[in-house]
Structure formats: structure tokens, C-alpha cells
């Protein structure tokens, strides 16, 4: 039993996850099997089982997180989104396609698809709101307020800026969107703050991005050059019918290139995780992360192998391993006065993630 019995004391907390691959492989296994015979309807319950297990295996200061969401809530949310939004959208696209000429079709379809991109952001925001509202620690609910529409438009605008800048606005966009989410998040009555702490600001966000960007470009074009120089001249120029040996050669040579690119990108990914975690403050405590580039490289490789060798059954186990590493590399520095934190009075959504499900954007955790 936890030693944190004394009321009124401020506590410094350890974050820990004890999930095992076996338990998550089992959930992944029966979820996929039951998906096959239920037209994938079981996915909502499978996801719920995964989250329940993942959260209950994660403790903060010795107290486990609790996931209280239900498969039925996800299912109902999905049905509402499908029938109120996705099917009418599909019907509209269909009608435009069949009843309008190509010009009319384009005039109708472009705003529709632009709206869809805004919906992506809204869906992500709403899904997180649901997920947080079903997460408890010490009996206290997490919550998220703020405008989903505002987030949707921001995500859309940042997406355009990221495209225009060939990806260079991406890290800034990610930080801004994280700020939008986290600065509207609560643990019970206690707001969670997203601040540019000195520790967070030290993270080399753009140096790591520059290496990832240039490294990827150089590696990719070097690979293309090698392919053309060694085998491509005949195989590629001859037209559409590539022989299997050439295809094997192309994929074979891409594996070391992909590993090299993964190494470049991993540094940036580790930096971004640390940057975001170190920006978070709750009550008197700051969050910190020691996740390293090697953690990301190792997990990327081993998780890929895990998914391949389990024929996909290991997908949830791979996601768990990523979360486990992030959690176990996280710490809460400073003290939280739990006595001062009261139950959340923010209304929790009655069903969840329907839009994200409808748009196929939902994540297991």
C-alpha cells in the first residue's frame, strides 16, 4: 500500500509503467480476431481494454492511473459521427461527382475537402478531450476545455504554413498545437500550464530538425543516385516492367538508408518529446523527460520487428512499449499539494472520439 497516507502533505512523484508485452499481445490478438468476425465493431472495446490496461499499469507517485471510458461510448460516438457527418459528406461528394460536370465537381469538392482538413484538427481535439475526461488519478478526473473549432482552424493554418515552408514550420506548429491542448487541460480543479521553461528552451528543436531535414534529403537523393548508377540505367529506363531482382535490389538498398533516416529523425523526435514534457507544469511541480535519441531508435527498430513478426498482432504491444519508455523516462520535479486539488467540475463528454473514428484519426492512446 502506498505510503502517501498523510493528508495535507506536498509530494514529489515518480512516473512508472509496468506493462508487459505478453498482456498487450493478448489484447492485440483477441482484438484483431474479434474484429474479423464483427465487421471490426469490436475495435472500440479492444481499444478500451488496451487503454484500461495501459493506464492501470502506469502509476504516478505510486498511485495508478485509471481509465474509465467504455467501448459503448466510443461506438455510440462513432455512429453519431458516421450518420450525422461522414455519410452525408460522402453522399454530397457522390452527388457532386455524379450530377455535376468536372468543373462543378471541383467547385463543390474543394471547399468540402478543405473543411475536412479543419475537421481533422477538431477531431483530434475532441478525442483528446474525451480521453482526458476518462482518465483519473487518485479519483480525480482530468479535463480539457477550449474551442475545438479554434484548434481545428489553427491546425489547418499551421499545416498550410508547414507545407509552404517545406516542413520548417512543423516543429513550431507542433509546439503551438501542444500549447493549445495542454494550456486548456486540468487535473481536477488544477490547471496544467504549458510554459517556455528554461529547461524546455534549451532543447535544440531547430538544430535537430535541420539534421533530420537535410540528413533525410541527402540520404534519399544519394540512394536514388546509387540506384540509377548501379542498376537503374537498364531496369528503370526499360519501362514499366521491372524484374523482381531489381525490385529486391531497390528495397534491399533502401533498408540501410531508412535506418540512417530513422537515426536523423529520432534525434528530433526525442528533442520534441523532451521539449513538450519539460514545458508542462502543474501546481508546484514541473515535468521532465530524459528520453534519448537511442530510446527512439531502439524502439523504432524493435517495434517494427515486433509488428512484422507478430503479423500485426503486436501493434498494441508496440504502442505500449513506446508509452512505457516515455513514462519511465519522465519525472515530476517539485511538489504537488494534492489537498488543494479538488474534483473537476468541467462537464465530461457523454460519448467520445466519434469524429476521430469517423476520420480514421484515432489513436489507441
Amino acid at each position: 500500500m502506498s505510503e502517501n497516507n498523510g493528508a495535507g502533505q506536498a509530494e514529489s512523484l515518480e512516473v512508472k509503467n509496468i506493462s508487459t508485452i505478453g498482456s498487450m499481445l493478448w489484447i492485440g490478438f483477441y482484438t484483431i480476431l474479434l474484429n474479423l468476425v464483427t465487421l471490426t465493431f469490436f475495435r472500440f472495446w479492444g481499444r478500451t481494454h488496451f487503454r484500461r490496461r495501459l493506464w492501470s499499469d502506469t502509476s504516478v507517485g505510486g498511485e495508478p492511473l485509471q481509465y474509465t471510458g467504455k467501448g459503448l461510448e466510443l461506438f455510440v460516438g462513432f455512429l453519431i459521427a458516421i450518420f450525422s457527418l461522414m455519410l452525408p459528406f460522402a453522399a454530397l461528394v457522390l452527388a457532386a461527382q455524379l450530377l455535376l460536370g468536372p468543373e462543378g465537381f471541383v467547385i463543390v469538392i474543394i471547399p468540402l475537402y478543405l473543411a475536412l482538413f479543419v475537421l481533422f484538427g477538431i477531431a483530434i481535439f475532441l478525442a483528446r478531450r474525451y480521453h482526458l475526461s476518462r482518465t483519473r488519478l487518485r479519483g480525480i478526473r482530468f479535463a480539457q476545455t477550449g474551442s475545438a473549432t479554434g484548434y481545428g482552424f489553427a491546425a489547418f493554418g499551421y499545416g498550410i504554413l508547414t507545407g509552404i515552408t517545406l516542413g520548417w514550420f512543423g516543429p513550431e506548429a507542433r509546439i503551438r498545437l501542444s500549447r493549445k491542448m495542454w494550456s486548456k487541460s486540468y487535473f481536477g480543479s488544477e490547471p496544467i500550464h504549458f510554459e517556455d521553461t528554461p529547461e524546455a528552451a534549451k532543447e535544440p528543436v531547430y538544430a535537430s530538425f535541420a539534421l533530420a531535414w537535410f540528413g533525410t534529403m541527402v540520404a534519399y537523393f544519394a540512394w536514388i543516385g546509387i540506384i540509377i548508377a548501379t542498376a537503374g540505367a537498364e531496369g528503370l529506363a526499360n519501362g514499366s516492367e521491372l524484374d523482381p531482382a531489381a525490385v529486391g535490389y531497390i528495397y534491399g538498398t533502401f533498408i540501410p538508408v531508412a535506418l540512417l533516416i530513422a537515426a536523423f529523425v529520432s534525434w528530433h523526435e526525442a528533442v520534441m518529446i523532451r521539449r513538450i514534457v519539460k514545458s508542462l507544469r502543474i501546481n508546484g511541480a514541473n515535468l521532465s523527460s530524459r528520453i534519448s535519441t537511442w530510446d527512439i531508435i531502439e524502439l523504432s527498430i524493435t517495434n517494427t520487428l515486433l509488428i512484422i513478426f507478430t503479423l500485426g498482432f503486436g501493434f498494441m504491444a508496440a504502442q505500449m512499449r513506446m508509452w512505457k519508455r516515455i513514462a519511465n523516462r519522465m519525472s515530476i520535479e517539485g511538489e504537488i499539494d494534492f489537498d488543494a486539488i479538488k474534483q473537476s467540475e468541467i462537464d465530461a463528454p457523454s460519448q467520445g472520439e466519434g469524429l476521430a473514428d469517423g476520420l480514421d484519426l484515432v489513436s489507441n492512446f
Binding site: M1, S2, D57, M86, R138, I140, F338
Partner: protein, 366 residues
């Protein structure tokens, strides 16, 4: 009455995150929690055991779902003895089993509805669709397809030579729609009928049958059979139904449905065996009424069959209306049975000379 079994515990009341010291007493049907003089009674029946990390046994109760009671090992042993049903997962297992069976049944009903009901309804739906509506759809689909498959540069001149024959066949066969025909660039030999009388033939088909205009017309007569049966509309309704299924399965964004729809069109509106046989039958009747020899259709089948047989890797290029049928030989035989010796060729040599150049390199250069 509180038994002598009393244990120290930790309590989160669900109102604040503070951890509170408590004492728990176990009674025959319930446990009594004493928190600094305040008593909470939790019946065993509505207790839930929270499995997870952290020391101690965690419990919640239906009366106050936010509250958590944390028991030490001694209390856990006593509770397991007093209320084993709290730890018995059979109730949850029964609930999940019932849920899964319900989902399988629902999936079966939905699947049957989509795989059997939608195709069954597509015929009556197609035939009750207003013809001008179908023609508009066909025209738009044709415009979209020709953005993906380029129209042959001399298609207009060639179609001008072919149109009288098409019009005559359509009238003779009482097809019900005016025929709009185009040649499109595609190396695989194929022809397809979109809704509302839009018919297309590929450059590959023209190349394959360049020495046999009657066989070429036979293929077009087959497509007129699809137009008459409104198979294009049926395929549209079927594909839309399949799109809904994908929507449910993938949780997609509607894009899946659209891909199925357009894909269905571009992949030559693959029809079922019954529809193909009926189109063959209609083609033979049209040809006979137009004093043509239905045996020409058999020659077209043979040419297409030999095209697919030349090289195994080319199998995928055999047109859908042929490749979906392992009994092509039977179709050839049936067409031969209808053959007549005195068939009249509907296209003269001069007209055919223009038609075969519809997609040629020469016409492209010009």
C-alpha cells in the same frame, strides 16, 4: 455490527486528490469505511476491483464511482475470504461474451444486407431511376474518366463513321438510350458501358480487332446489351453499398466510398456472370435483327482470350467482362451457335479505314 476484522486503509473520496487514512471493517454483505469519524458503507455486490499498478488492492463502488479504497495485504486476504465474488471475473466474462455474440449477429445482419440486400436492390433501383438522371450521371462519369484516360485524337472522325451503325443497333435493339461513343487510350483491349448510353472502347481493342470490323461491332453490341439492362446504374448502386460497408469497417472519411465508386467505373464496371450472359444474349439478338452474324462476337472473344493467353503476366489485362468468367469457352460456343452464314457487315472498308486510325500514332502526330 462491525466484526473484529478491522484493517487500516487509504481512501480517496473522489472530491479531492488528498489521500486519507481510514479504517475498514468487513461485514457479511458489505464493508464499512471509517474516515476520521465519517462512515461509508460499500456493499460487496457493487464493489469493483481495479486491477493495476501500485501497492495494495484498489476498489471502487457504484455509490461513489470517483472514490477509491486502497487495502493492504491483510485486508485483501480477509476480503477475498468474505466476498470472493468481488474477484470473480465471470460476470464480466459473461457480459463480454454476450456483447461479442450480439456484435457477430449484428455484423452478420449488416453484412448480409450489404452483400445480398444491396445487390438485390440495385436492379429495381436502377430500373426506377429516371432516364435523364442516368444520362446526366453517365455524361459526368464519362467526363471524369476521360481526364484519367485520354480520348484518342482522331476519335471524333472515327466516331462519325461508327455512329450510324451504333444508332442503328441501338434502335434495332430498343436499347432505350442514345449512344455516345468514344475511343480512349489504353493498351489493354477493352470496352465498357457507363450509365445512360455512354460507351467507350480502348485503343488496345481497336488494335486487337483491326482486321475484323464485325468482331469489333460485336463487342459494341455486347456493351449495348449492358446499356439496355442498365447494368451501369446497377453497378453504381452496388458500389455505393460496398462503399458504405467500407465506411463502417474502416471508419473512413468517405474517401473509401468514392474510391470504390470511381474505381468501379474505371475498372470497367465489372458485372456479374448473369449480367454478362444477358449482354451476350442481347448482343446476339441485336446483331441478328441487324442482319449481322453473331459469330463475329465469338471471334472477338477468341481474340481477347488469345490476347490474355499469350503471356500469363498479362492475365490482369484481360477486360473485366471477360476475365471474370472462367467459362469464356462456353460463351464462344454459345455465340457460335447463333452464327449465320449470310451476315452483313455494317461498316464498309472506307469507314473502317478511318475508324482503325482513331488512336494510331499517325493520327496523334497529325
Amino acid at each position: 455490527m462491525i466484526l473484529e476484522n478491522q484493517f487500516p486503509a487509504q481512501f480517496y473520496d473522489g472530491k479531492s486528490a488528498a489521500s486519507q487514512a481510514a479504517t475498514v471493517g468487513l461485514e457479511p454483505d458489505q464493508l464499512v469505511i471509517d474516515i476520521d469519524g465519517h462512515r461509508e458503507v460499500w456493499t460487496y455486490k457493487h464493489l469493483t476491483h481495479i486491477v493495476g499498478a501500485g501497492d495494495g488492492l484498489r476498489l471502487t463502488h457504484r455509490r461513489n464511482k470517483d472514490a477509491i479504497l486502497v487495502l493492504g495485504s491483510e485486508a485483501e486476504t480477509a476480503l477475498r475470504a468474505a466476498a470472493p465474488e468481488v474477484f470473480d471475473g465471470s460476470r464480466e466474462r459473461r457480459r463480454m461474451t454476450g456483447l461479442v455474440i450480439t456484435m457477430i449477429a449484428a455484423a452478420g445482419i449488416i453484412g448480409a444486407g450489404l452483400f445480398i440486400g444491396v445487390p438485390a436492390a440495385s436492379g429495381p433501383l436502377a430500373h426506377s431511376t429516371p432516364k435523364d438522371f442516368e444520362m446526366r450521371m453517365g455524361k459526368n462519369l464519362s467526363a471524369q474518366i476521360t481526364t484519367l484516360m485520354r480520348t484518342c485524337s482522331a476519335s471524333t472522325q472515327a466516331v462519325a463513321k461508327l455512329q450510324p451503325t451504333l444508332d442503328e443497333l441501338a434502335e434495332t435493339g430498343d436499347v432505350g438510350f442514345p449512344i455516345t461513343f468514344q475511343f480512349v487510350h489504353m493498351s489493354a483491349p477493352n470496352a465498357f458501358a457507363l450509365p445512360g448510353g455512354q460507351v467507350m472502347a480502348t485503343s488496345g481493342l481497336l488494335e486487337l480487332l483491326k482486321d475484323d470490323p464485325d468482331a469489333f461491332v460485336g463487342v459494341l453490341a455486347h456493351e449495348l446489351g449492358h446499356v439496355k439492362a442498365r447494368d451501369g446504374m446497377q453497378a453504381l448502386y452496388r458500389n455505393a453499398g460496398l462503399g458504405i460497408l467500407l465506411e463502417v469497417i474502416t471508419g473512413g472519411s468517405g474517401i473509401a466510398q468514392q474510391l470504390v465508386l470511381v474505381g468501379g467505373q474505371i475498372r470497367q464496371l465489372r458485372y456479374n456472370r448473369r449480367q454478362e450472359s444477358l449482354a451476350d444474349e442481347t448482343a446476339a439478338e441485336i446483331m441478328l435483327k441487324a442482319n449481322m452474324d453473331p459469330g463475329a462476337l465469338a471471334r472477338a472473344f477468341e481474340a481477347l482470350q488469345s490476347y490474355g493467353g499469350k503471356d500469363d503476366t498479362r492475365d490482369h489485362k484481360i477486360p473485366g467482362w471477360l476475365s471474370s468468367h472462367p467459362d469464356t469457352q462456353k460463351r464462344i460456343e454459345r455465340a457460335r451457335e447463333r452464327a449465320v452464314a449470310d451476315g452483313v457487315s455494317p461498316i464498309d472498308d472506307a469507314a473502317w479505314a478511318v475508324i482503325v486510325e482513331a488512336c494510331s500514332k499517325k493520327s496523334e502526330e497529325e
